[in-house]
Symmetry: C2
Subunit: 373 residues, 2 copies
DNA sequence: ATTGTATATTTGTCTATACAAATATACAAT
DNA sequence: ATTGTATATTTGTATAGACAAATATACAAT
């Protein structure tokens, strides 16, 4: 017999079935009733509260519908085991640009494994970095009653991305950003130290004697902009003036066919630099392939470095020096932070920054040091 | 006023609220009540059926809980608009081995795009080809109330895979197999013409003058066993005796580190063959890398062919001759067939076999024809 | 046409009662 | 220990009735 008194206020404007319902939920959520514990019978509750049986049944049926309780003839009414927040499924949504591209599979694997550890499932949504697709999926996810969201911001303007986040926050569904931040906005986020990673990579190239180091990437997202900034800072830290002419950047979405053309334009200017950093590994491979076709030997005539260390990097015959991103861990940590919020975790906005590390392979060679200009 | 008579059989063992409930569902699903149509009031239903008001309310409340109806004080009870099968979410589960591996991302992209076209969402589950993981996810999916399942059978015994399928069938949740069949069992399935693809590839190599053609793959799954059979048949069709000594197969799960070792053992016997077919592209790349390390020139000293034509195949400097699998389409067709079943489609088990085609690149060279033995 | 007030309508809440269904539990027989 | 039978227990179904709540609708006044 539980100690806590079942109090039903007959003068309250709150319906009496609802008061009973609420009391029962509170007992369950405070752990006074544990999974498979039997709650008092209808008759017992009538005796303790004076409520009519039908009123009691209405409260209990609602809790059955909500997933808190199950009932057995002759035996009684029992608490269902709770694997997640009642009233909501143990399902979270994940919005990524494209499941096929670069680091997305590894990231999702990290999310999925951590989710499974906590008996959660993930709904996969591809946005193609387009707001209209992301918005469509967001509406679907809310309709499905997801419990949380992991979101890689799209290529849309910050206000658009924020608009999407607010849809979830309005329903008290927590959101965690992954990889990319939204400029001028502070939000729960997991990313990696792109600035430091690029700084270390650039410093490494400088340590190999390179002074004229080019870089190519898209400045569309925060992660790659931070890589550019890290590159620039490393040059400055070594007394080298960062030259705009060696910074080949685009401000639009990465589209492979376009970049295949762009890397040829870049390599046409290769006498200006002895080494080049690609903003991510897919770009590095495009550069490599174009170099081979143009008869440029890597690393003998041009050193090449990438960023990300994607799984297929080590299956490539050209062993690419790159920065290893903890992509799996980024997925994992995103899910952990989201679970923390789902389970009621309050507190300051968290910005988790995971460490990258340099992976030296064979795409960079030592050159005779030439003096900084 | 609707024509159809509300009949409640007072002698039926079926509860009367349930009979009314069923009648209302039928009216809605047959389109006699459309979204936002008003159904008869409680009083009107009492007049037409003689049922007590509380019994009527029980039926109607259940339909409200199931998402068929909504109620407004003073106005009445109305039909909710339907975006998916009522009582179940517009969500399906997809069980794949590993989101990171080979063709899984492309496949899932096909599934996801087709799902989105029909306002469905997909729950992603990684099984690692292990039954215990698949079973865990299956239980989760059923708990979430998924409407259907796309399943790549695991490496477990056929009975185990069937056991998992029966869980869903028991709940009338349709299941479609993808890529791999379950031996001795007939089920809705989408796969590709692995036999014909391998037959064409082997014939192509024979057309290039090769007679001693090796092959390496895992015989664990139906798709790769069919490739082996297609290879053997092509040799026979050309009057070449398939030699067991040129067939390097394993009967266990593909684990990259193990295969890295295995390809070296294979290449140690390379004087026995002038060409080798890898059962899938990742194996082809392992072969290529090992060949480079052993100083074996591809295709000058050894011709190499793959299977699958994964997205990164065309980013590779070694332009691999391979068989292009319609992986995206396989995902798409799996989802289409599942939707067909979800929407009530009956009829014979469907086995959809999509066409592959040979993609000639530069990894295969012409050799002087030597006579069959 | 707009605003204010009253009323009718239908759902929502709550009480009371009776019988049925499923089955755990108790007890007897072997 | 096992099997068979009866009974007690609690939920499930169904009936009847009364009052409350929310608000669309009707009507009057300006």
């Amino acid at each position: 017999m539980k100690d806590n008194t079942m109090i039903i206020d007959r003068d309250s404007p709150i319906p009496q079935y609802f008061q009973l319902q609420s009391w029962l939920i509170e007992q369950i959520e405070q752990g006074l009733f544990k999974p498979h514990d039997k709650i008092p019978t209808e008759e017992e509750i009538t005796r303790r509260t004076g409520l009519a049986r039908a009123t009691i049944r209405q409260a209990i049926q609602n809790l059955v519908n909500m997933g808190y309780l199950y009932r057995k003839r002759r035996l009684g009414t029992f608490v269902l085991s709770q694997s997640a927040e009642p009233g909501r499924s143990a399902v979270v949504g994940v919005l990524v640009h494209d499941i096929r591209s670069g680091y997305a599979p590894e990231f999702l694997r990290g999310v999925g494994d951590e989710a499974a550890r906590h008996s959660y499932s993930i709904i996969l949504c591809n946005t193609d970095d387009l707001f209209i697709r992301a918005d469509f999926h967001a509406n679907q996810l809310i309709k499905h009653g997801v419990t949380g969201l992991i979101f890689m911001p799209t290529a849309a303007a910050p206000e658009k991305n924020l608009q999407l986040i607010e849809k979830f926050q309005h329903k008290n569904i927590p959101v965690v950003l992954a990889d990319r931040e939204i400029p001028g906005h502070s939000h729960d986020m997991v990313t990696t130290d792109n600035f430091d990673g690029a700084h270390a990579l650039t410093s490494h190239l400088i340590g190999k004697g390179h002074r004229h180091i080019a870089i190519t990437l898209s400045t569309l997202f925060s992660s790659e902009r931070a890589r550019l900034a890290g590159y620039q800072q490393a040059l400055q830290d070594h007394g080298i003036d960062p030259e705009p002419a060696l910074q080949f950047t685009i401000g639009e979405r990465f589209i492979e066919k376009h970049y295949q053309h762009y890397v040829r334009l870049i390599l046409a200017e290769r006498e200006k630099f002895t080494a080049i950093i690609a903003g991510n590994d897919p770009i590095a491979y495009l550069l490599y392939n174009a170099a081979i076709e143009l008869g440029i030997a890597i690393p003998d005539e041009l050193s090449l470095a990438g960023y990300d260390d994607l799984t297929f990097s080590n299956a490539h015959p050209m062993e690419l020096t790159t920065v290893h991103q903890p992509i799996y861990e980024m997925g994992q940590e995103s899910m952990k932070l989201l679970l923390h919020r789902i389970q009621g975790g309050t507190g300051a906005v968290q910005s988790i920054i995971l460490k990258s590390h340099l992976v030296e392979r064979r795409s960079v060679r030592l050159v005779v040091q030439d003096s900084p200009r």
